[in-house]
Symmetry: C2
Subunit: 163 residues, 2 copies
């Protein structure tokens, strides 16, 4: 084969990380995070974006234990517990002890107060959903989501998330 010639040609033509999809995803994620931070600073003083994402996940997944929440959100158990502490203190969630495979766990559920807050915040997001639907077509959005999922699935098989 042409491996040696290939290596020579590759040496000149570096593939930069900053041109990779991974980097663009990271960059875009930073933009999204900056937007969320500013939005919450202006509009919602009850939660920060991390607590909001956790509350939304709790709302979508009833009766889930902390570690499974951590796995969904890709956070470690320690910070998951701390965010839940904060949400519980503000009475947006409740925790109760339960068992899973005969092991003691803490299951989490959203309170009515939490549901109401989530609904209020969801309405404030409406303009952003609309603006995204204006700049990206439905078909492209479908492709975007599918591609992101493919990337996550591929990475899931390579690295161990050990949460």
């Amino acid at each position: 084969m042409n491996t040696k010639a290939n290596n020579e040609s590759k040496r000149k033509q570096i593939r930069h990380y900053t041109d990779s999809p991974s980097y663009e995803i990271d960059l875009t994620s930073k933009y999204c995070k900056a937007m969320l931070t500013q939005l919450f600073n202006r509009v919602c003083h009850e939660l920060n974006p991390e607590e909001f994402a956790m509350l939304d996940t709790v709302s979508c997944n009833k009766n889930m234990c902390q570690r499974d929440l951590a796995r969904l959100l890709l956070k470690d158990r320690a910070n998951t517990g701390r965010i839940l502490d904060s949400l519980e203190k503000k009475e947006y969630i409740v925790r109760h002890n339960d068992t899973k495979n005969n092991r003691l766990i803490r299951k989490v559920n959203i309170t009515p107060k939490g549901e109401i807050l989530l609904e209020q915040i969801s309405q404030k997001f409406e303009p952003f959903r609309e603006s995204i639907s204006k700049i990206i077509s439905d078909e492209d959005l479908t492709i975007l989501r599918a591609s992101l999922k493919k990337i996550r699935d591929a990475i899931k098989q390579i690295v161990d998330m050990q949460i």
Copy 2:
């Protein structure tokens, strides 16, 4: 119009943040970061992923001042300076004082030692580039990148990044 009936129907059907593209991008970015962290732990002890992204950006943008680098990488000036301190101490970059609009600035450039390291790391990334090209078609990758850029551009107009 049907605004009131519309509101009623929306109240029941909450749009969850965890279903949004923004959330999926954030999640995927966490997967990518986890992969990078594990990869660097195994394979490269000279740099961490943040330093690597900075070095790659410096390599792609000769003679750039620190604040412009911060703007490209979406980091604040403080951390940009700290990462550059580390890279300079390891002799992968050099800084020299210069002026821009008659103001004193520090311009950054990669050293030959830095170029060599970057090339080595780039080659170790090859398997990942290949695996991504296997799971996502070229057309979908083009759409993915374009959509991400559209999202960044839209956010750029809404929020001030003040770096």
